[in-house]
Amino acid sequence: MDQLQLQRELRDYEAAMFQQGFLDDQFSQLQKLQDDSSPDFVIEVMTMFFDDSEKLLNNMSRALEQIPVNFKQIDAYVHQQKGSSASVGAARVKNICATFRSFCEAQNRDGCVSCLQQLQKEYSQLKKNLKYLFRKQQEIKGGGGAIPTGE
């Protein structure tokens, strides 16, 4: 029964993440892609996403410090970030990226800076939550249980 308890917890947690908009349907699509042939597909992709994002966020903050600010360059970073977050279903991050890009387009440095801060905040929140989620999943797997899907 401990397994069931864990499973329910995991499901609730995941549902909460969906509800709060951290994740969207694309994440469940991702989960569907995971099967016996690639058991850790989601974690692999997410790890890649985390690495990628951290690199991009660093690049962004560095580019914003430069004077004059190369908005085009920043826009390219944000575009990348937006693309990958869309792919993994990181909805909130993706949305901030969209706003970020419009500020880049408008060459609004202050807007960009605040967006970057927001982005960093959202990103770390997401990462924290996902890490927790993955840990739970591993626990269940370790216990020999099946990982419930997002439905």
């Binding site: 908009g21 969207d24 694309q26 699509q29 991702l30 569907k32 892609l33 099967d35 042939s37 690639s38 597909f41 692999e44 992709v45 890649m48 996403f49 990628d52 390219a76 575009h79 990348q80 937006k82 693309g83 990958s84 869309a86 792919s87 993994v88 279903g89 909805a91 909130r92 993706k94 949305n95 969209a98 706003t99 899907t149 439905e151």
Partner: protein, 912 residues
């Protein structure tokens, strides 16, 4: 023509008239006068001759009876009597007298004999008195001459001349001598006395003229013109008549005297009334002609002016039309761009923290925005069509896949409404066609969209046939129509679809299909190259009100305002469809009966991709090319239990596409016997929901029997499938399900979905855990297995996700991170089957890379059939503009990021 010219014309006319009158009228008058005058002269002469002749006869008489007889047989009394009686013979003479020659020597004896003396008449000449007044006795006796010519006999009227010597008159003497000499009568000057007779010219002419009717009109003067200078008037008064006269010569047999007759008209020539009338008439006619001419000239001028105005207006109208189309195109495009932003922002808004109400608002706004974009796309299409800018592509496509695709699009809606949706494509339609699949799909989607909007019960049934196939079946079908009207897909009555294409040119016997009707198998090569499809979409919906039917293809025309309020839409779809059908060299028509339903039918011409395999006798070959996802079903046999032939036929079509042999029976009993007695082992039994639910005991009996038979015979019972319209409507009866749980297959049937269901139930293929979306995953698994796909994306996360998705479906995936790398990878020859290309990439974007790849393909393979690698764009842009851009740059389609299994399947299925 102005008035001066006309005046000239009038003057000229008058002058001409005068001349004409002169020449003709006077000439005619002259002629008449001449002929009249000549006639008179001749008559006068004739009369004279007659008298002359008689006088001669008389002289012979006298010589016979007077001189030859002694004593004379004639005395004065006898002569007078005789001459009086014969006076009518001598109309010209008033009296006749006879003078005899008496010599001087004989005078005495003669005088004695006669009893009177010879008297002279000289005095008489000098004092002419009236005949009656002088008395012979008063005359002096003639003086002595050598000879005398005394009158011995005389008519009573002139008896006074008896005894007068004719030779005593100067004139008379000459005449007498002359007459004696010539032996003829002579004419004397008009004296009262004459040898032998007195002629009265006056009375002669008078009498003559009386005989002629035209006495009054012609004045006649007779002159003795022996003396030219002093003509002696013999007859006629000198009255002034017409100045013009005609002269005729008279011959009285006396060569020494000349006579002339002058004739003239009594009246001056009358006014030439005819000429005046004619000239007035001509003048009037000339005026009228002039007027008409003038009016005509005016009218021509007016018409020309109008024509120029028209041209001007036409130009303006055309310019306005072009401007309208341009305006529409521009505006639509300009609206789309900001709409992109609005929709994007709306998406973002959806993802922020919103309460339920706010979310509802945003969702509504988003829906409206999407609807707006689709309307703009439609308007843009219409504008493009109107300006003639819309061109169709010619690419290879599989019409069955397109139909599956369209089905999946509408399946949710139809299931929700409980409407049965089915597609049937005739076996004779080739697998691969060349044409514009996107536009074809647009037409079908439009028609089906309309149908599903207006249909709440019954079915929507799409059929695709070759035109010639339908053409041949017309006669057969006509015979059987009356029998089973209930033979439709859902049992609801339908509008007779055949009427919808009765007017099509392709079906008229003079049409291009005339050759098909005569020679189906030996048809010319052109019929192999071109595939004439007839597609009909049949529904059992509300139907179109009769009054709206004529204007249904008019742009922006909807059945009524209430309809658009209820169902939305612009009313432009059918108009666009009609244009598109026209571009495909086809025709569109419909038949609709209110409360029963509508059937839309259109034809379209495509090119056959592999012409040689399309001959009708190779139908089997086409059937043997099964759906790629289902090779594992090849050789299996299925039994369909369905009482409705049409629906059973649709099921047969879909199952057969998987390579499965199909047998159809109408109820469970027959089904059972088919399973038991059939020569072929039945692997699966597909039962219509209504058959299954009709009698549960029969159903369970059927199931049990099948199991028993199977146990006895082969050990593997056939799998049971229930075909249902919507999953919710099927209530699995616990009684049967516990024994032998049948698999439920939700319609509409599609090959891929059917394959997935069969695979799952029969354990063919790899066994996946039954998760949602498994159907697609399974079918995609086979669709993509063994395919090599290149993914081009600069974003590593995206790349991984896409690769993961495709790998998952069995494809071999290679990833590159830039357009340049993609070009090197895709330079022919290569072994990729498809390529997914990100559009926005640094250095070289997807469009440019595609262009280069296409260029390489063409230059490398220009001689052979060119290789065309399907390249699908990956983009987050939801708006159609991007799609068009993709096609323009040589891409074949697009998938929106992030990947969704259904969409991925849809796009990829077009190419495999």
């Amino acid at each position: 023509m102005d008035s001066t010219k006309m005046g000239f014309l009038g003057d000229g006319g008058k002058m001409w008239l005068k001349w004409w009158e002169k020449i003709l009228v006077t000439e005619k008058r002259k002629e008449t006068l001449a002929s009249m005058c000549d006639e008179r002269a001749r008559m006068l002469q004739d009369q004279f001759n007659v008298s002359m002749n008689h006088i001669q006869a008389m002289s012979i008489l006298i010589s016979t009876f007077h001189h030859a007889k002694i004593p004379s047989a004639i005395d004065q009394k006898t002569f007078a009597k005789y001459t009086e009686r014969t006076a009518f013979e001598r109309p010209l003479t008033s009296g006749v007298a006879y003078a005899v020659r008496v010599l001087q020597s004989e005078r005495e004896q003669f005088e004695k004999q006669q009893g009177w003396t010879i008297k002279r008449m000289d005095t008489l000449e000098q004092n002419p008195v009236h005949e009656d007044d002088y008395v012979a006795d008063a005359l002096e006796p003639s003086p002595i001459h050598e000879e005398y010519a005394p009158v011995i006999f005389a008519q009573d009227t002139i008896s006074h001349v008896i005894s007068i010597d004719m030779l005593s008159g100067k004139e008379d003497r000459e005449n007498v001598l002359r007459a004696r000499e010539s032996g003829k009568g002579v004419l004397t000057a008009p004296f009262r006395l004459y040898l032998g007779g007195v002629f009265e010219i006056e009375s002669l002419v008078e009498k003559l003229l009386q005989q002629l009717a035209s006495k009054q009109t012609v004045l006649v003067n007779v002159y003795d013109t022996t003396n030219r200078t002093h003509p002696i008037p013999m007859y006629g008064s000198v009255v002034s008549g017409d100045e013009f006269y005609h002269v005729s010569f008279l011959n009285f047999g006396d060569p020494f005297r000349k006579h002339e007759m002058h004739c003239r008209f009594k009246q001056k020539p009358p006014w030439p009334l005819m000429a005046i009338g004619t000239s007035i008439g001509i003048l009037i006619i000339a005026l009228l002609v002039g007027h008409i001419f003038h009016a005509t000239v005016n009218r021509i001028a007016n018409v020309e002016e109008d024509y120029h105005k028209m041209i001007e207006l036409k130009k303006r109208a055309e310019a306005a039309d072009v401007a309208k189309s341009q305006f529409l195109a521009t505006v639509s495009h300009e609206i789309r761009t900001p709409m992109n932003g609005v929709l994007g922002m709306m998406n973002m808004l959806m993802d922020t923290d919103l309460d339920v109400t706010q979310q509802e608002y945003v969702r509504t706004a988003q829906c409206s925005g999407k609807a707006l974009v689709s309307i703009i796309n439609e308007v843009l299409d219409q504008a493009k069509i109107e300006s003639g800018k819309l061109e169709l592509e010619a690419v290879l496509f599989d019409i069955r896949a397109i139909m599956d695709d369209v089905l999946s699009l509408f399946s949710e809606k139809s299931q929700g409404k409980g409407v049965e949706l089915a597609v049937y494509v005739s076996d004779q339609v080739p697998r691969q066609l060349i044409g514009d699949p996107g536009r074809f799909r647009q037409i079908i989607t439009n028609l089906m969209g309309n149908s599903i909007k207006f249909t709440d019960k019954g079915h929507i049934f799409v059929t695709i046939h070759l035109v010639e196939e339908v053409f041949h079946s017309i006669e057969v079908e006509r015979e059987s129509t009356s029998k089973d009207t209930e033979d439709t897909l859902s049992g609801f009555p339908i509008a007779d679809g055949r009427r919808s294409w009765e007017g099509f040119q392709a079906f008229s016997h003079e049409g291009p299909l005339g050759s098909f009707s005569s020679s189906a198998s030996s048809s010319s090569s052109s019929s192999n190259d071109f595939i004439n499809l007839i597609v009909s979409v049949e529904d059992t919906g509300d139907g179109i009100p009769l009054e709206s039917q004529p204007k249904i293809f008019t742009p922006f025309m909807q059945v009524g305002p209430s309809i658009s309020r209820k169902h939305g839409g612009t009313g432009i779809g059918l108009s666009i469809s009609k244009c598109l059908v026209g571009l495909m060299n086809g025709e569109i028509g419909f038949v609709s009966e209110p409360k029963i339903g509508s059937t839309f039918t259109f034809t379209a011409v495509f090119t056959n991709a592999c012409p040689n395999s399309n001959e009708f006798n190779k139908t089997q070959q086409i059937n043997n090319q099964p759906h790629p996802a289902s090779s594992e079903f090849l050789g299996m046999a299925a039994l369909v239990i369905d009482p409705r032939p049409v629906r059973a036929e649709v099921s047969r079509y879909h199952i057969q596409r998987l390579g499965v042999q199909v047998e159809i029976v109408s109820d469970l009993k027959q089904g059972l016997s088919a399973v038991t007695d059939g020569n072929v082992a039945i692997n699966m039994v597909l039962i219509e929901q209504e058959v299954w639910e009709r009698d549960s005991t029969m159903s369970s009996h059927f199931v049990n029997n099948i199991r028993k038979i199977a146990e006895v015979d082969k050990g593997i019972p056939p799998k049971l499938f229930i075909l249902v319209n919507s999953s919710s409507s099927f209530k699995a009866s616990s009684a049967t399900s516990c024994v032998h749980n049948p698999t439920v297959v939700t319609k509409p049937l599609r090959a891929s979905m059917l394959a997935a269901s069969l695979q799952r139930a029969m354990g063919v293929g790899n066994k996946g855990n039954p998760r949602n979306g498994e159907h697609q995953a399974l079918s995609l698994n086979h669709l993509l297995s063994g395919r090599k796909i290149l993914i081009v994306d600069d974003n590593s996360v995206n790349r991984t996700v896409a690769a993961g998705a495709l790998k998952k479906y069995g494809a071999g995936v290679v990833c590159v991170s830039s357009g340049i790398e993609a070009i090197t990878m895709l330079t022919p020859p290569h072994e990729f089957d498809a390529c997914f290309m990100d559009i926005q990439m640094p250095e070289m974007d997807g469009f440019e890379a595609t262009k280069k790849i296409r260029h390489n393909e063409n230059s490398e393979n220009n001689k052979e059939l060119s290789i065309h690698l399907p390249i699908l764009a990956m983009t987050a842009d939801v708006i159609q503009a991007t799609h068009e851009e993709c096609l323009k740059h040589g891409m074949d389609g697009y998938v929106s990021k992030p990947f969704e299994a259904e969409q991925l399947y849809r796009e990829v299925s077009k190419f495999f």
